[in-house]
């Protein structure tokens, strides 16, 4: 009995420490500033344990009964703490409040445990032995937990399931206690049923935990997340750090509000300003409305058709005040027609012709996106060009993904167009590239709309010059049956990250 009892002490101590570590780690991951987070969480937790110890004096009768309930409560709250905190972070504004509330409740419960246990066993041992044994095992448990947590639990199980595992251990100790002290309990059946319910729900939680971790743990952003949503098509996260808004789609940075004007001015004006009488413009991708904002600087344009897969994306950029401020409410212009559709089938089935086509898709990181960078796609898109028409394609970085950039250029060329590649520097992206393509010769514009911050007529020729480290490379075209671009792109970025 003695050993079994002290093993419970060890386990209980381990659980207490794990919950504290989980809360500290989660807060550091999600909010950042780990020194601050760990200090305040440990402080709060220890303080709450003190409250628990103080409160223990008010518990007088049925100590074993109460101890079992405390273990169960702790099992549930501690076990689900990690999942609940992640969800709180993703879906509420009050993460910190919930975090400290959970830490205080857990601390109080943990603070109750050891005093109660000591009192339960005090009649069986000398006082000095009780103190010595209980505290020895308490500290041993803490050591075990603090080693297990970084070495095994976090890498193997992750935060959500680690907490649940220790919730199960808490509930296990509760169940075990009903047997260990069965003589001191009058009605055990209800307690044991409660234990089983808690054990089962935590067990089920362990099985389903991947979903929660997938949503939350994979996306660790240092900045404030002001919007995060899994739409039907992508994982959309908007962050803010001081005055810098950033959009991430599936964890890839799409723009930073500090320098997106460089990207979008460069995407639109070298091409569009050279079209003699642009009336109809097509934008493929570009659900943030920033390219459309630039296009609206040409008053003679009558219609802008924007095809973007994700209605939640275009809706967000039509309604969110911070974002409509950024895109000048471009989606609310009566000239703009938003079509939420998959681009390739849309391009195939639509028959309209356009004076300027903007192709602004995410980089070709997988075979699905790769289809939108093929000769088949560009040929289909080129059929929509009017006689004076021109198309521009965002073509990843000629610096970091040089093979990919020239592969896209070659693909456009093999699709039967003349190509005019150019590049600009966007601080948050680095050196970035575009390709203009047309079935006729491109003559750079001599005038530009007013109010541009980056592109000017004098600077244009320089954009079309490629220094040696970005100079053209002979690449094969990307085709549906080869998808060579996806592999090339993967290799290009692999080389960078090494």
């Amino acid at each position: 009995m003695g050993v079994l009892l002290f093993i419970s002490v060890l386990l209980v101590a381990a659980c207490g420490l794990i919950y504290e570590l989980v809360a500290g780690t989660l807060a550091s991951y999600l909010v950042g500033d780990s020194v601050f987070q760990f200090s305040t969480i440990i402080g709060t937790y220890l303080f709450a344990m003190g409250i628990g110890s103080a409160l223990s004096r008010f518990l007088n009768r049925g100590l074993v009964y109460r101890f079992v309930w405390i273990e169960l409560l702790l099992g549930v709250i501690g076990g689900f703490s990690s999942a609940a905190l992640m969800l709180a972070f993703a879906f509420t504004q009050g993460f910190e409040l919930i975090l400290y509330a959970v830490v205080i409740i857990m601390g109080v419960l943990v603070g109750l445990e050891i005093p109660l246990l000591m009192r339960i066993v005090r009649d069986r041992y000398e006082f000095r032995d009780v103190i010595a044994h209980v505290l020895t095992f308490d500290y041993l448990g803490a050591l075990g937990a603090s080693l297990l947590f970084p070495i095994l639990l976090v890498p193997r199980l992750g935060l959500v399931r680690s907490a649940m595992l220790f919730g199960i251990i808490n509930a296990g100790v509760a169940l075990w206690t009903t047997y260990l002290f069965s003589t001191q309990l009058s009605s055990k059946r209800g307690l044991r049923i409660a234990c089983m319910v808690v054990l089962c729900s935590l067990g089920a939680g362990m099985l389903e935990a991947r979903k929660i971790t997938a949503v939350a743990e994979d996306n660790i952003y240092a900045d404030d997340i002001i919007f995060a949503r899994d739409t039907r098509y992508q994982h959309l996260v908007l962050t803010r750090f001081k005055d810098d808004l950033r959009l991430f789609l599936n964890s890839h940075l799409q723009f930073s509000s500090r320098d997106e004007y460089r990207y979008h001015e460069a995407l639109i004006h070298p091409g569009l300003a050279s079209v003699p009488t642009p009336r109809h413009v097509l934008v493929l991708g570009g659900g943030d409305g920033l390219a459309v904002r630039e296009i609206l600087k040409y008053p003679q344009i009558e219609s802008i058709t924007l095809v973007d897969l994700d209605p939640e994306m275009t809706k967000l950029f039509s309604t969110h005040p911070m974002l409509t401020k950024l895109n000048d409410k471009s989606f609310l212009s009566p000239k703009v027609h938003i079509v939420n559709a998959d681009a390739f089938p849309w391009v195939d089935s639509n028959t309209d012709s356009f004076d300027f086509i903007v192709i602004d898709f995410p980089d070709p990181t997988n075979y699905s996106l790769g289809k939108l960078y093929t000769t088949a796609f560009y040929r289909a898109a080129a059929r929509h060009l009017s006689a004076q028409g021109l198309m521009v394609v965002q073509s990843t970085s000629p610096m970091f993904a040089r093979d990919s950039f020239w592969c896209i250029a070659e693909t456009l060329k093999q699709s039967g167009m003349q190509i005019y590649p150019y590049h600009v520097y966007v601080p948050s992206f680095g050196e970035w590239g575009f390709v203009l393509a047309a079935t006729h010769e491109y003559i750079p514009p001599t005038t530009l709309p007013g109010g541009l911050r980056f592109i000017n007529v004098e600077g244009l020729p320089a954009l079309f010059q490629f220094p040696p480290d970005m100079a053209p490379l002979p690449m094969p075209p990307n085709q549906l049956n080869s998808q060579i671009l996806v592999r090339t792109y993967e290799n290009d970025w692999k080389d960078i990250s090494h």
Partner: protein, 508 residues
């Protein structure tokens, strides 16, 4: 803050719902396109009621698979339109039939055509006619998109179907040796498609040996080499290497130029070709017309189907040749036509099953599975976002004799095959039961001709492939070549049409 809390509570209850136990979807489905019954009526020589009507055509085509449709295509292309095609099933196409649901079109059997070489001139002519070959350039959209094939072995995926990971030195040497041998055979020009254009007696000895026997002679005892060779024979012939002629086994590897373009394929497989052919000759096609008797008469040939006697000058017999003794009067017994039984199934998937992190491919095969894996009908879609799809599952029942397996197909019910298919897929896609909403199963007792030992150079077969000068019935099925591929069916169909046209013009 209030909104935040409500949202939080909402998320909490959503999480609780997520905790409820997963249950498998109910799976609907049945056997489809069965024609056992009609086949058995013929086999048992059931008596049919006498004909009530007579229709006259200079030419009648029996059988609406690729051979029959190709014959019709050639007749029409040559300006001859006075003919009719009789198809037993409700849908033409034979092994190139297709199905369609709200997600996609999908194949029922043949699902691709390798990029045809220069020798397959009829196939190239057809594809030029269908607009996918222009000035020697293939339409990118009908070439199989990348990534094409993957093999699941040792708990992981590899690209391509020839085992390439976990090979020992011995495995590698044997694969290399075979590759070199096949290259030499290829260089002889004896192994061609169409087969008839290259075949001479030069390698006839290989036809008297089984492919596995030949592999043994070459010292190939590697387990992986033998798995792959068996996979190839099961895939193209529905037979194990030990039941395949060595000549045919070599033909599989030596008949095509190695090219990286990948095969021509469509969501509905070769059903796409059937559709295009039907656009051209569809009004000549009569379905649900089971021909039960063909008799040569003084002036021509009479074909009986339903309550009609079709009086023709010439008939093109494009149905499987083994049916000839049951249909054609005074026809000799056939001994050298052996057919492999197959089972295919189309699985409707409400979500894409977990594939251990891999991006989907066109063709998926599992090492050491008795089945041939599956093909994804949505692979050729141009969409970037796919939520649902249809997988076509292929299973050549190659273990044991064809007769035993035909009996198995008749004996076992749909549930048996459904479970067998799911269990096979479950080894890799653990959540498959939560994704499938429907499994339709097609049983084919005589799915394809089997190039059994001795059958490529069988005298009996060669007799049918060469039409007699005075013949009124021209044979056209791919089984005349002993291998069941699109190109052979089309070749024999076109040739039979050509023979019929020559004779018709000679008459007039």
């Amino acid at each position: 803050m209030k909104v935040g809390r409500r949202k939080f509570l909402g998320a909490g209850s959503a999480a609780l719902v997520g905790l409820s136990l997963k249950t498998d979807r109910p799976i609907a489905g049945s056997f489809v396109n069965d024609n056992f019954q009609m086949g058995h009526l013929l086999r048992d020589r059931t008596s049919f009621p006498p004909a009530k009507h007579v229709e006259k055509f200079p030419a009648v085509i029996v059988g609406g698979g690729i051979a029959g449709l190709s014959a019709a295509w050639r007749l029409r292309k040559r300006g001859f339109t006075d003919f009719v095609l009789l198809e037993m099933n409700g849908q033409a196409g034979g092994n190139a039939r297709w199905g369609e649901n709200e997600i996609t079109a999908y194949p029922w059997a043949a699902h691709y055509v390798p990029v045809p070489g220069v020798k397959a001139e009829f196939v190239r002519e057809l594809f030029e006619d269908l607009g996918i070959l222009k000035n020697g350039q293939w339409d990118e959209r009908v070439l199989c998109f990348a990534p094409q094939e993957r093999l699941f072995l040792y708990g992981r995926w590899q690209e391509g179907l020839e085992p390439a990971i976990g090979l020992t030195q011995k495995d590698r040497e044997q694969f290399q040796k075979l590759e070199d041998l096949f290259a030499k055979f290829r260089a002889t020009g004896e192994f061609t498609i169409p087969l008839e254009l290259g075949r001479s007696a030069k390698f006839q000895d290989l036809d008297h040996l089984s492919f596995s026997g030949w592999l043994q002679q070459q010292g190939c005892d590697s387990r992986l080499v033998n798995w792959y060779m068996n996979y190839a024979c099961r895939d193209d012939y529905g037979a194990l290497a030990k039941d395949t002629s060595a000549w045919a086994g070599i033909h599989y590897f030596s008949s095509r130029e190695i090219e990286e373009k990948g095969p021509l394929t469509w969501p509905e497989g070769n059903g796409w070709i059937t559709r295009r052919l039907l656009e051209r000759v569809g009004e000549k096609v009569r379905t649900n017309q089971m021909v039960y008797r063909i008799a040569e008469t003084q002036h021509g040939v009479s074909i009986f189907a339903g309550d009609t006697e079709f009086q023709a000058e010439f008939a093109i017999f494009a149905a499987p040749t083994f049916l000839a003794p049951y249909l054609i009067e005074n026809f000799p017994r056939l001994d050298d036509f052996v057919y492999s039984p197959w089972l295919t199934a189309n699985l409707t998937l409400e979500r894409i099953p977990d594939s251990r992190g891999a991006e989907p491919t066109w063709d998926t095969v599992f090492l050491d599975s008795p089945t041939l894996g599956y093909v994804d009908a949505m692979h050729q879609t141009l969409r970037t976002h796919i939520e649902r799809t249809v997988w076509t599952f292929y299973w050549a029942l190659a273990e044991g004799t064809p007769a035993q397996n035909r009996q198995l197909l008749l004996d076992k019910d749909w549930t048996y095959w459904k479970e067998a298919i799911l269990r096979d897929l479950e080894r890799v896609h653990s959540d498959i039961r939560q994704c499938v909403s429907r499994i339709d199963v097609m049983r084919m007792g005589h799915a394809m001709i089997r190039p059994a030992v001795g059958s490529v150079f069988s005298q009996e077969r060669l007799r049918f492939a060469q039409p007699r000068r005075e013949a009124r019935i021209f044979f056209a099925n791919s089984d005349l070549s002993a291998i069941s591929i699109f190109e052979e069916a089309q070749y024999h169909g076109v040739l039979a049409a050509q023979s019929a046209l020559d004779r018709l013009h000679g008459h007039r």
